[in-house]
């Protein structure tokens, strides 16, 4: 397949710029978390989970604009959003279809986070719980905004010694998924 250098560089630049912004945001997210949690004898895991919760709320806000509950690909699009975030952070991830349209998996084959946890002497389990907190917060916010029942379940985790991370996404049918199914927003002669 021929390479389109312009496209490659453009994609790289976009990711790089997004990463820069995430990097900056992360600093402030951690700062907020530390201020909220710092007290005598506090447990690092509390700080970690609080920070990932804050990150999760911000991530969910970024996803809101990319999701449309009236589309049949709603669940798959959530999985794609997660993959997009992960690859931007240097992970290797992909979406795998489940048995039906109400089930998708996200699989991570490579993740630099455990290596950083080791480098900074943080427990591996903290990494798993932190990730879970992030994703669960995102999913909770999505469910709140879109009035849906999406669930996320961690099945495998690299920091636990599994060869990959796997998270299963499922969705239960709700009114909000069906009420606008097939409807097109039409303005006069123009579809909008």
């Amino acid at each position: 397949m021929p390479i389109d250098p312009e496209k490659e560089i453009r994609t790289l630049m976009k990711k790089f710029e997004a990463l820069q912004n995430i990097n900056r945001a992360t600093w402030y997210e951690w700062r907020r978390a530390a201020i909220e949690c710092a007290q005598p004898k506090f447990k690092p895991i509390d700080l970690v989970l609080k920070a990932w919760e804050i990150v999760g709320h911000d991530t969910a806000k970024a996803y809101f604009g990319m999701l449309d509950v009236s589309k049949p690909t709603f669940l798959e699009d959530i999985a794609k959003c997660i993959v997009m975030s992960s690859t931007m952070m240097g992970e290797t991830a992909k979406v795998i279809k489940g048995e039906n349209e109400n089930e998708f998996f996200v699989q991570w084959d490579r993740c630099p986070w455990p290596e950083f946890a080791r480098r900074y002497n943080a427990p591996m389990e903290e990494d798993v719980l932190g990730c879970d907190k992030w994703f669960q917060t995102v999913i909770e916010d999505i469910n709140q905004l879109f009035n849906t029942k999406v669930r996320l379940e961690t099945q495998k985790a690299i920091p636990r010694g599994d060869g990959c991370c796997v998270r299963r996404l499922t969705i239960e049918p709700t009114d909000s998924l069906t009420k606008h199914k097939g409807a097109k927003q039409v303005l006069g002669d123009v579809e909008i």
Partner: protein, 660 residues
């Protein structure tokens, strides 16, 4: 004889031309002389404590004069002392009797102009709490737009209190002398929050299915009706379409249920709207063709017996006049056209349509409100300065011979204002037409042709004021020496410039205005250099015709000169048309095969292109030194000062015109 019975429209040209607009209608027990309604418009002109100010008073007085006997609505008032209902820092308050005198001054001003006063109750709900850490709503649904605050779910007690606050505030409106009562239930405000399946997830009697979600609205209507009695007409504004399919909002059919429930509850007139502030599709900007939403008025007319009014993209009188004749509308409602020209309907009546300053549907007015600033209009420099004597056009203390160099929007605005003040104004334009950069700008797609209306307006105003045009005449130092004017206004605009990169002198490099005016051929792969409005306009123009377009912006953002409430529409179109955008980049080299783009961290990117279009500008100021040397009064305005937007040009022109 009531105070409104003085209106006899039959003797006016507009009364004959638009007979349906200028005939009476009964709303409840009140007869309105015509079909015109100035819609409630937030202006941020009141004090942060909610008291009415002189600025707000004069603003509404002008609009009341404009409706020539029709309905003039004040901005919606918030009704709770905590301010959860307050959506704008300068919103008027009505949560205590102490606000009645200020509200009365608004009603009196409207009556003094012979108009019918309409008082609006507006709890901003999900978009409220502008001075509080949270806002309130039926359910705590997260915000999509960061500008709004987190939502706190209302308890049943909160709901009962809120309904009572509506009733109390309504009574204060009647005490202040208003003739009509209106409830706002649109665009994401509290009543719409209760009605929508997106924002109401309650399982009690205020939630559930659409009937249940209507409960809060119905109880509010009943409470307000009890407070105002049967003789005062009661209007409600509700969405015919929320345009929130992506988050599971109401269907159009559910919206129609809300209409019927409102009518059953005792509403006398329904104002049809569409879209929320959170909707991700354009609703009121100029990319939506005029009259596009009339089908929703038709749906409402078919479903209800009460009169139907409607605003939203009905900017010219012919559309509502025909809609009324066709039986799909009863009242022509508007706010932005009368922000742009407060006397708009009056000019229609008097047969002076060419003198109407046209709204260009840019939404700068909205952008200002969301940034806690007083309202400003893109095309009307006087907007929100109605009370300020320094902003009025007053006779000049000494007549001057004023030479205006340039027939673009800045020069034209300055010319007619200065001429109205009694100056001897001579406008020189090197080309044989007036309009300047508006001419190419109005060739861009998605409604930009509406910008052309400014030229027609200026032409009419200049001719009426007696401006002397010198078209096809280039102003030279010799001409200035010869004419020796008392004042020179340099409004020569900006010229499009080529950059420093190697290859800018190539045959494949052309100017944006030549492209927009079809004066030159363009290849299939195009690079546009310049990410402000001219660059965006030409990029969309070419992308629309199927070209592969790359837009290079030296700024961190594309469309830095476009107001924040409009730019997202352009970005959406650029994305839809797959225009590739490079920000914080410049051109390093141009060849006949393409360009090298260099970003701010020195990455070099090859982009294929057979045509390069330059859309960056620099001011034209070459006559400045000549004028200074002659000790002639000099004014630099519009793009000749700094290349900016049409709005800046118009505001510069007006401000200079009133001070010459």
């Amino acid at each position: 004889m009531s105070k409104n019975s003085k209106w006899d429209y039959s003797k006016f040209p507009g009364g004959k031309k638009y007979p349906n607009l200028f005939k009476p209608i009964k709303i409840g027990k009140l007869t309105i002389p015509n079909r015109i309604k100035y819609a409630a418009t937030e202006d941020n002109l009141n004090g942060r404590d909610g008291f009415v100010t002189d600025d707000g008073l004069e603003y509404i007085r002008m609009r009341a004069r404009g409706v020539v006997g029709g309905i003039c609505t004040i901005q919606g008032v918030y009704m709770d002392p905590d301010g959860y209902g307050q959506g704008y820092v300068g919103q008027a308050a009505a949560w205590d009797d102490k606000f009645i005198p200020g509200l009365k001054s608004l009603a009196d001003a409207i009556h003094d102009e012979g108009a019918i006063s309409n008082y609006q109750l507006m709890h901003c709900g999900r978009v409220g709490g502008v001075e509080t850490p949270v806002c309130v709503g039926p359910s705590a649904i997260p915000q999509r737009l960061r500008v709004f605050r987190p939502v706190k779910e209302m308890t049943k007690n909160d709901i009962k209190t809120c309904i009572q606050e509506h009733a109390d505030a309504a009574r204060r409106g009647i005490d202040a002398g208003f003739q009509i009562m209106e409830i706002s239930g649109i665009v994401g405000y509290l009543i719409s929050n209760f009605l929508s399946s997106y924002t109401n997830r309650r399982t009690d009697e205020y939630g559930g299915d659409i009937e249940g979600r209507c409960t809060f609205m119905v109880e509010t209507i009943h409470a307000v009706r009890d407070a105002i009695g049967d003789d005062i007409p009661l209007i409600i504004r509700l969405c015919a379409e929320e345009l929130l399919n992506d988050v599971g909002g109401n269907t159009p059919e559910e919206c129609m249920v809300t209409y019927k429930k409102a009518e059953e509850a005792g509403i006398d007139c329904l104002s049809v709207t569409q879209g929320w502030q959170e909707s991700i599709v354009p609703v009121i900007s100029r990319d939506i063709p005029q009259g596009s939403w009339l089908y929703n008025a038709k749906r409402a007319k078919e479903a209800l017996k009460i009169p139907i009014s409607m605003a939203y993209r009905l900017f010219t009188p012919d559309l509502p006049d025909k809609a009324i004749a066709d039986g799909i509308l009863d009242v022509w409602e508007m706010c932005r056209p009368m922000i742009a020209d407060p006397l708009m309907p009056k000019k229609v009546l008097e047969g002076c349509e060419q003198e109407i300053r046209p709204c260009v549907a840019c939404n700068l007015c909205l952008a200002r409100l969301f940034r806690d600033a007083p309202m400003t209009c893109y095309v009307n420099p006087v907007c929100a300065h109605e009370a300020d004597p320094d902003w009025k056009v007053t006779p000049a203390s000494m007549q001057k011979y004023v030479m205006i160099v340039g027939g673009g929007p800045a020069g034209l605005e300055c010319a007619y204002v200065a001429a109205q003040r009694g100056h001897d104004v001579h406008l020189y334009e090197s080309s044989d037409t007036i309009g300047g950069q508006i001419i190419p700008a109005s060739k861009a797609p998605y409604g930009d042709e509406e910008l052309y209306g400014m030229i027609e307006y200026h032409k009419a105003m200049c001719e009426k004021a007696g401006v002397n045009f010198h078209l096809g005449t280039k102003v030279t130092p010799e001409l200035i020496d010869e004419e020796l004017p008392d004042a020179v206004v340099l409004a020569a605009g900006a010229e499009f410039i080529k950059g420093d990169a190697k290859g800018f002198d190539g045959a494949n490099v052309i100017c944006a205005t030549d492209v927009l005016q079809d004066k030159t051929k363009v290849g299939d792969k195009v690079v546009v250099w310049g990410g402000k409005k001219p660059g965006i306009g030409v990029a969309l123009y070419l992308a629309e015709s199927g070209k592969k377009v790359t837009l290079i912006s030296r700024e961190r953002k594309v469309g830095k000169d476009v107001n924040p409430s409009y730019i997202w529409r352009y970005i959406k179109k650029l994305n839809e048309k797959r225009v590739t955008i490079y920000k914080e980049c410049d051109l390093e080299e141009i060849t006949d095969k393409g360009v090298i783009v260099k970003n701010h961290y020195s990455t070099r990117i090859p982009v294929q292109a057979d045509t390069v279009i330059y859309a960056e500008r620099t001011p034209r100021q070459e006559l400045k030194d000549t004028v200074k040397e002659q000790n002639i009064e000099l004014h630099l305005i519009g793009d000749a000062l700094v290349p900016r937007s049409l709005s800046n040009a118009l505001h510069d022109g007006y401000r200079t015109g009133i001070r010459l």
